[in-house]
Symmetry: C2
Subunit: 375 residues, 2 copies
């Protein structure tokens, strides 16, 4: 089996598995209990917070453990938009993940918030960060989940800071694949998804420059300094700490995919007429390729690849069920005919040169078969 | 070690551990991906939804997987209160868990919502469910986390239904310890916490009679029929399914604690002058004892018990850090002097007669030691 859907989720890492095999012998307790068992678990959790802060270059006090990146994003939207006054506006982009896009649309509709959209070039990169007045919130995804295009989020952060506009940066795909420093980024809010890093699903991080700007969306008994209620998912937090302690190594192993991937893309381009690598001219995540073959449906290719035990997706996992091409691709000016031919391959630290060769051959076979059907 | 803090969290069950030991070999995929791996995981998850629906006696469509009971509660509060108009009122009780209480206070303050409180008797039971007009929302915890007192939630549900008032019933402590049928209860919203049932932390259920009355609080790519965004915590959901398939057996084993506990309480009462069992006259959870010894601080007893490797708490885990006695105890008319002497013992399916004897002896020893210090 070749798994090439790391942007949707990364398989649970061997070290996480090994840790859990022992950890499941106990002890178990509520980390908020004052007895010794609970306190031990609480201390381990705080140790993990320190490790995460170290890996993300922020203060431990800036880390709130949530159930995942979508919750982290939703909490920032609630905090900044839910009690907004009329006539306020936000700055966002068509490149955002559904969690952010749907959340913004929800609050914008409820509170008549104006949505200003960043302009996007044909490579899927946001341009021109000039704004006339401070906004309620600004968002620009750090690295796009479909194209892998890395945005100028540092320049954007700088600009938003100058304009006194809080910046929520969706760093879900960037962190773990590229170096990231929260302190140096000047971003107001960043997010982490544990399962995208090879740890367990069900936990994530919200990093907030000023946590006091947040409201809880999940209420409880004072957990996470009253910013996130509910018993912490301590087992998954411990696993996240483990993965975070090796984040630098992970980034390094992902960077090694760059040359393998570019070579793979070059080979395919030379073999399939009209094949396009979306966003190829922009700086991209080393692990992501978004291919489009004109007039051949991405799902047909996906199914062909699956018959060779290769698992890819036609876009992000979350919008796989949508019949239309994604809003991000539309904003890039990609026509339906090409956009429907899209398949996303996202590789991981275990992807080898042999895997790339095997996928290359399988795509060529799929193309040959489907091109014949088409004509 | 004797663990007597099951109401805070139940240790991960052996069957969950065994399941995970194999499950962690994979496969892993995003359940929202359209490829075969993702679809297999999605199917397993839907199977778990069916199992949960069966165990809770509701329709699978009424089940939304969340990160836990606190999130489930918070989603109902957001859905019913966040966009409320002025001059609306809600009916609630001083017996509610902090997740609910703090959430209600938050929205009540933001939107000037009037809070009507149910009257409570000295045994910790809510009385008199008459209301004059429909409310935005009514809440009454099914079984109290500290006293274990089981409320007349079925009668309350009936009354609220007549008064066209949606009823959010915090069933966190009841489910798994008492028989529960969502359909028969006539409750509008009920909640489940996985880790209280011996499964993993980080997952829970919101059961909604009419899911279309809900707004998401966590936005995403259409997961859970667009009512709860974010990649589902599928590993924990599978484990929850496993535990839910044996829910009836769990309830049965908890019911066996009743006679052991009553015997234990009787012994203690006869040995410690002035000792009170809070709520003893009311119907209670079979596993819960809330003891109070006048003028002896609960935390002192807790520490003494811990020296015998017995783990109990002074109240709910979430409010262990509060110096004051809990609002619920205050509402019952319990004086500070007695309230500070409170310790909560909550037993589980593994608690034996020997454990009860051992705890009994340890409490007597602690009492003798602390009573001497006091005088």
């Amino acid at each position: 089996m070749i798994y090439a859907d790391y942007n949707a989720t990364a398989p649970v890492a061997e070290e996480v598995k090994q840790y859990l095999l022992e950890r499941l012998d106990g002890p178990f307790a509520n980390p908020n209990a004052l007895h010794g068992l609970g306190q031990n678990i609480s201390h381990a959790m705080e140790q993990c917070r320190n490790i995460c802060a170290d890996a993300l270059d922020c203060y431990p006090e800036q880390i709130i453990f949530t159930s995942g990146a979508s919750e982290s994003i939703s909490q920032v939207l609630f905090s900044t938009l839910a009690f907004a006054r009329k006539n306020n506006s936000i700055l966002t982009s068509s490149l955002e993940h559904a969690a952010l896009k749907n959340g913004i649309n929800f609050y914008a509709k409820k509170f008549n918030i104006d949505i200003n959209q960043l302009a996007i070039n044909s490579g899927g990169k946001a341009l021109n960060f000039e704004i006339e007045s401070p906004q309620l919130l600004a968002t620009l995804i750090a690295a796009h989940n479909e194209t892998g295009v890395i945005q100028d989020y540092l320049a954007f952060a700088q600009k938003m800071d100058e304009m006194q506009t809080p910046y929520l940066c969706d760093t879900t795909q960037l962190i773990g694949k590229c170096p990231f420093s929260f302190k140096k980024s000047n971003v107001d809010y960043a997010v982490v998804s544990s399962h995208k890093l090879g740890s367990l699903p069900g936990v994530g991080i919200l990093i907030a420059k000023n946590p006091e700007t947040l409201s809880p969306i999940i209420f409880g008994g004072g957990q996470e300094k009253s910013l996130r209620g509910g018993t912490q998912n301590y087992l998954a937090i411990e696993c996240l700490g483990l993965v975070m302690s090796k984040l630098e190594k992970r980034v390094e192993s992902f960077s090694k995919l760059e040359s393998l991937k570019l070579n793979f893309e070059e080979n395919l381009t030379s073999q399939i007429p009209g094949l396009q690598i979306i966003g190829a001219k922009e700086q991209r995540l080393s692990n992501t390729t978004l291919l489009a073959i004109p007039a051949i449906h991405g799902q047909a290719i996906q199914i062909e690849l699956e018959s060779h035990d290769i698992f890819v997706t036609t876009s992000s996992a979350c919008s796989d069920n949508e019949p239309e091409i994604s809003e991000s691709l539309k904003a890039m000016g990609i026509e339906d005919d090409l956009g429907r031919g899209v398949i996303r391959l996202s590789f991981g630290e275990k992807t080898t040169q042999d895997d790339f060769n095997f996928i290359n051959n399988a795509i060529i076979k799929a193309y040959q078969k489907l091109a014949i059907i088409k004509h």
